[in-house]
């Protein structure tokens, strides 16, 4: 029983979504750093997704670039830039994903700041949601690399944010599991 308890203690800094008597901004951030990080990642991703949606509707016809594969316009106007056979830009599901991810993170932050225990499912659900995003991102990277042979730098930024979300969510989830099994 000693080892799980030690593990739980070591995981504490990243999985402290619970409460404290925090009051100053620094203390608020220290309460649930992982949740704060996930919230910031989601807000940045949401901002880029909104920008890319605007670019999709801008109607600018891109050109072939002589200098290399970086061509955001070609990616954003390709046949893969919409959802199925609809006219809905692929960035819209991306926006929704970041909204949900941000909502889950915000909920964790609120519970922590209010010194209330978060629901048991909150951390695992965010982990699952991040994996859904990862699967989506892997598909989009595959399309850019193998289908379009063009890369959109802004899209790559979104992909990086989702991967970072997966990393943070995984560390947070592992802490959650260690803590949970330490209790048993």
């Amino acid at each position: 029983m000693k080892q799980p308890a030690k593990a739980a203690a070591s995981a504490a800094p990243l999985q402290t979504d619970a409460t404290s008597a925090a009051r100053s901004p620094r203390d608020l951030l220290a309460v649930a750093p992982a949740a704060w990080a996930l919230l910031v990642l989601a807000l940045i991703g949401l901002g880029i997704s909104i920008f890319l949606t605007g670019e999709h509707y801008a109607g600018v016809i891109p050109a072939c670039q002589k200098t290399g594969p970086i061509n955001c316009g070609a990616v954003l106007t390709s046949s893969y830039s919409t959802v199925g056979n609809t006219n809905i830009p692929i960035t819209v599901p991306g926006m929704l994903w970041f909204i949900v991810s941000g909502g889950l993170a915000a909920a964790a932050v609120v519970f922590a700041v209010k010194r209330q225990p978060a629901p048991e499912w909150l951390v695992p659900l965010h982990m699952v949601w991040s994996l859904v995003g990862l699967a989506f991102v892997l598909y989009l990277i595959y399309v850019e690399a193998f289908r379009l042979h063009e890369v959109c730098e802004w899209c790559s930024g979104v992909h990086l944010l989702v991967i970072l979300t997966v990393v943070v969510a995984t560390v947070r989830y592992s802490g959650f599991l260690r803590d949970r099994y330490a209790r048993t």
Partner: protein
């Protein structure tokens, strides 16, 4: 309460206990199995398996290419492209597309043998060049005659793969009204093809801001009309013709309400109107035919 004490309290609270009640809370069974380590681990394995399958399948696919590449256009394809009926052209108008041209102000006018010069820079791999060539051939054929045009497809490994088109490589163009200079700088496999020389090289400086938008700067196809106007990229998206054969595209040109006719002929009408501005509306048989006069009023060139 010190910071360390607060953190300790937070950890205790997250574990569901009061201070001093560590480990007193029974294991929660409210989390469904699929949110547990087995469910999430399984999801990771499934994602990894899908990635591996996609990569294996992709590596087994070989790029497609048509045996028609390099051969002369099939009978009927060029004739319908170069000699569309006046009624069709008038009905198409601009096709709903905006003018592709951006005016160049105060630049030295290009002339060759006393005629205005139209410069094209593109590449065989480029799908936007593939789309633009259809309109260019249609427009320029109203002022002169092409010889030696050959069938081409854009790259098999680029966006809008294998878009059916033509190549200007080894083609010649003669006209009493305008000089057409062209360069295909890379083949459909992106190997170097033609070097930029003379006037074609000289106008490349206009393929940069402030002459063109920064979003397409340095891009191809790049068109320079007599140093009075420039255009980068195609007048319409290649998706309009991607997946259609040369014959299928040509067949739709007779239908002015088809998206293909609106895109190719609408863009060709814009190019024609711009050329008419540089030739002093010669020949009248072309420049006075609808919808050219009305489009000329909307074209902004230097």
């Amino acid at each position: 309460m010190g910071r360390q004490a607060r953190r300790r309290q937070a950890r205790q609270h997250q574990r569901g206990g009061r201070p001093g009640a560590r480990g007193s809370r029974p294991r929660a069974n409210s989390t469904p199995w699929w949110l547990g380590p087995w469910g999430i681990g399984g999801a990771v394995v499934i994602i990894a398996a899908i990635v591996v399958i996609l990569i294996v399948v992709e590596n087994k696919q070989s790029p497609s290419s048509s045996t028609a590449i390099g051969s002369p256009p099939p009978p009927g394809v060029l004739s319908v492209l170069t000699k569309p009926s006046g009624a069709t052209l008038g009905s198409v108008g601009s096709g709903g597309y905006p003018s592709p041209w951006k005016a160049l102000k105060g630049q030295k006018v290009l002339t060759s043998h006393g005629k205005p010069v139209f410069v094209y820079t593109g590449a065989e791999y480029c799908p936007y060049c593939a789309a633009e060539r259809w309109s260019m051939i249609s427009a320029l054929s109203r002022f002169g005659t092409f010889k030696g045009l050959r069938l081409m497809q854009s790259s098999s490994t680029d966006v809008y793969a294998d878009t059916d088109t033509f190549t200007f490589l080894h083609s010649t163009y003669s006209s009493p009204y305008i000089t057409f200079l062209h360069a295909e700088i890379q083949d459909r496999n992106r190997n170097p093809l033609q070097n930029l020389t003379g006037m074609v090289a000289a106008v490349q400086k206009y393929d940069n801001p402030p002459y063109v938008s920064s979003t397409v700067a340095g891009g191809i196809p790049f068109l320079d009309l007599n140093n009075q106007a420039v255009a980068v990229s195609s007048g319409y998206l290649p998706s309009v013709i991607n997946g259609l054969s040369w014959k299928q595209i040509a067949a739709q040109l007779n239908n002015p309400s088809s998206p293909v006719a609106k895109a190719i002929l609408g863009n060709a009408n814009w190019i024609t109107a711009s050329i008419c501005k540089t030739t002093g509306n010669k020949p009248a048989s072309v420049c006075s035919m609808a919808p050219i006069p009305s489009l000329e009023k909307k074209v902004n060139i230097g």
